[in-house]
Symmetry: C2
Amino acid sequence: MDDIDRHIVTALVADGRMSYTDLGKLIGLSTSAVHQRVQKLEERGVLRGFRAVVDPEALGLSLTAFISVKPIDPAAPDDVPDRLKGLVEVEDCYSVAGDENYILKVRVGTPGELESLLARIRTDAEVSTRTTVVLSTPFEARMRGTTPA
Amino acid sequence: MDDIDRHIVTALVADGRMSYTDLGKLIGLSTSAVHQRVQKLEERGVLRGFRAVVDPEALGLSLTAFISVKPIDPAAPDDVPDRLKGLVEVEDCYSVAGDENYILKVRVGTPGELESLLARIRTDAEVSTRTTVVLSTPFEARMRGTTPA
DNA sequence: TGTGCCTGTCGATATCGTCCACGGGCCCAC
DNA sequence: GTGGGCCCGTGGACGATATCGACAGGCACA
């Protein structure tokens, strides 16, 4: 994981479809060398994969919300993530320190869908919820490939 | 935006580097037809781009946190996102309803870096902060390409 | 019936991904 | 100093792929 690797990662985060040829020109390495480095970065798990970035609005998912959840019975075994992973509306699930146990990020189309989703979350995971609705998203999913000083 | 488009989007979210040939075989269309559809999806903004998915840990970013911010002077003009976009540690910035005005997701390497980041956020944006540290991430950035019934 | 539009197929060509053999730098043992 | 092994990059060759243009079929509408 040297500066060249970081440079490669940065470039591929910006454009995951950049050709190895262009990538080589960009960082001053031959096509093959870049190819080898990318393969090793994938093997090491630094690069987890490549994916298309989709506009949620275009899919009819115009409502984003954060839901903090807390088990109703604090003594019960904690398998909240397992119970929630079947709900495709739940994009992220973070275990957190603080008053609540988990923070979820969800995307739905309408307030009505949010309401029924909340009901499913409460019953499926046996939790109480606190919901924060997102009004707008100034920026999202920014990524830096290199660690700043 | 028909079922074929949704199928394409789903496939490209799962594997952003899938070749048009394979994509065509997968959904039962010729390479060129798929190519045209993907181009139109990009033009329409449905597909925003392609990017590599990186393991934050591998970049030394092992500490994730949510920071809720609220302006110290509620009467001041609200340009918090502009003031924060220069901080590369801030990955997401959501304007939200509720007690606080914005929710930020940040990634740093150490608690010390989080401390100095909080100081910078407070002074740069003139806000008070409430921080929730992420302990673990059961799942993250799941995406569905199709809207469920 | 004819016209225009949309969307698909097919074919051609330049480019790209992928693999292999080769060569130079580096470290270490002797 | 010297030889061997290892890592990493280079360059070339091959098949696969992206990309473009020309053409055909379905459909709505006048």
